[in-house]
């Protein structure tokens, strides 16, 4: 059963930014796109590595709502976790996000 967990003040993730949190032992990336928040697990379902950082630790930019794995190019929609391009074949886990009293809460 997923519980909403308070993560941080909404003001900490400004528009265009993302922060990765460890929640219940899962790495979850929370994105702010035009002041709306989206959360997906930070793992490429193709090769199991992180989606949000490349091999040098640089942040992987979003293209609209799409994030592309920096290694093999698999793409996912951060709004619902849907896989958009191979080599990944499986959706990435997606989490509901809400803002309550100025704090971001994620259902994990």
């Amino acid at each position: 059963m997923a519980d909403f967990i308070t993560v941080c003040p909404a003001s900490e993730i400004t528009a265009g930014q993302r922060i990765v949190f460890n929640i219940k032992d899962r790495w979850i990336a929370i994105f702010n796109v035009s002041d709306k928040y989206y959360a997906i697990e930070d793992v490429c379902t193709h090769d199991g590595n992180t989606l949000t950082e490349d091999e040098k630790g640089n942040e992987v930019p979003l293209e609209g709502f799409t994030i592309a794995c920096p290694r093999h190019g698999a793409q996912f929609d951060i709004r619902d976790g849907k896989v958009l391009r191979a080599p990944a074949l499986v959706d990435v886990p997606w989490f509901a996000v809400r803002v309550i009293d100025g704090n971001i809460e994620v259902a994990v």
Partner: protein, 444 residues
């Protein structure tokens, strides 16, 4: 609920210092060569960055470890043999042990060695004692041939700060028929750095089992270990290592067997515990006609992550290696096996095989298998395989059609999956114990 923000991989580092190394060595009044070895390893440790995106590490995100807790060097606090579960202490065969060395938090709480083995000249001791009493044997072999501090960040850390360990030595032409049993049990949170050094001289033979386990923890712990198996020409070693750390423990270990000419190593590994295990398991066959067999079973549940990195290095011609790993994962657990068979140029007529069979028991579990071959000779036989599957409904139906309830049928199928592997363990009691542990995980 603890929510931790991810730092960069380079930022989350252990809190050990050079002073820890100096204090450890001074407190034990260690000989100069060992102190130098430790400090040299420390220099290597400091010179290497924390592993991040290298091929063998990039899928292993260990940034959630709390190094402020896990870097605290654990110290024995008077815990006795009574804290060790009885299942870990039972004789491996018959009623008597060939040898039993039990360490709790790195301190010896029990030691015995059969006269039969003493008379053969077998050395079975904790590493600190061995450094004192068998200095030449230890000095020649400790982190000089098999695992070296330069193997990686955690190998270097281990070389600098190993706290306790076991030393097994079987002289040339001697057959140690009775098995030797080592139990390393931890009750304290924090760091444990244990070492196993097994040296089987030419034409000698031994069977060794090591049990690693710990009681429930209240804070993060790190086990930074090393295992060195040095098997001389025409020697024979059967080695069983079973790990069942508590769920707060992060293991980082380097384990390597060196196999001499016409020698044979039969190495069985079991991984059941820990929050995260990153183990490098390597067989280097360095003598013509050498044979290395690696077997492993693993079962991850809840939030466990096991990352097993294997290498079968054929560094001599006419050598054989055979690897079989079998694992299962349920809940949200993850496992990863990366295997490589390597052959140097001119190492002809080698036969290398590796297979990893994975049983995925829930939708949210993830298992990866990445076999690999790197062959630089042209007259070899090398192959590999990785398979993934869920419980086969046909098998369940077959059993249910014979009146067996569904839950029991599932258990039987999973037992059957692991049985091939467990049969490689030469001790019936240990097989029974592991079967019970696997079943407990299935039912939990």
């Amino acid at each position: 609920m603890v929510v931790a923000r991810r730092s960069s991989r380079a930022e989350n580092i252990p809190h050990y210092t050079r002073a820890d190394v100096e204090t450890l060595s001074a407190n034990r009044n260690e000989p100069q060569w060992l102190r130098d070895l430790r400090l040299s390893a420390w220099a290597t440790y400091e010179s290497l960055p924390m592993p991040t995106m290298e091929e063998e590490w990039r899928r292993t995100d260990y940034r959630h470890i709390h190094w402020n807790e896990a870097s605290k060097l654990a110290v024995a606090n008077g815990a006795t043999m009574a804290t060790v579960p009885q299942k870990n202490l039972e004789p491996l065969m018959g009623d008597n042990q060939g040898g039993l060395l039990v360490m709790v938090d790195g301190k010896i709480v029990h030691y015995e060695l059969a006269d039969e083995l003493k008379n053969l000249g077998v050395v079975f001791a904790d590493l600190e004692t061995a450094v004192r009493d068998y200095e030449h044997l230890v000095r020649d072999n400790l982190m000089t041939k098999a695992v070296k501090p330069t193997d990686g960040k955690f190998a270097a850390l281990h070389g600098a700060l190993w706290q306790y360990g076991a030393f097994v030595y079987v002289p040339r032409n001697k057959v140690a028929e009775l098995p030797l049993h080592i139990v390393m049990y931890n009750t304290q949170d924090g760091s444990a750095l244990g070492h196993v050094l097994v040296v089987v001289e030419d034409n000698a033979q031994a069977t060794v089992q090591v049990d690693y386990a710990s009681s429930e923890g209240t804070a993060h712990s790190a086990y930074i270990g090393a295992t060195e198996l040095i098997v001389g020409d025409a020697a024979n070693l059967r080695y069983v290592a079973l790990q069942d750390w508590n769920r707060q423990t992060y293991e980082f270990s380097h384990q390597r067997a060196l196999v001499g000419r016409d020698a044979n190593v039969d190495w069985i590994n079991g991984t059941m515990g820990s929050r995260l295990t990153k183990a490098f398991l390597e067989v280097d066959i360095i003598g013509k006609g050498g044979n290395g067999r690696m077997s492993a079973f693993f079962f991850a549940d809840k939030n466990q992550f096991f990352d097993l990195d294997t290498q079968q290095n054929h560094n001599a011609p006419l050598t054989v290696s055979d690897l079989l790993f079998k694992g299962a994962a349920k809940d949200t657990a993850r496992t990863l096996w990366q295997g490589m068979i390597k052959s140097l140029p001119n190492m002809q007529k080698i036969d290398g095989y590796q297979a990893c069979r994975n049983l995925v028991l829930s939708d949210d579990a993830r298992m990866d298998g990445i076999p690999g071959l790197e062959i630089e000779a042209d007259d070899v036989k090398c192959s590999h395989a990785a398979t993934f599957g869920t419980l086969e409904e046909d098998y369940i139906f077959y059993l249910m059609a014979r009146g067996i309830p569904r839950a029991e049928a599932q258990l039987m199928v999973i037992d059957g999956f692991f049985d091939e592997l467990l049969q490689r363990i030469p001790f019936e009691r240990v097989r029974d114990r592991l079967k019970a542990e696997i079943e407990a995980k299935i039912l939990s």
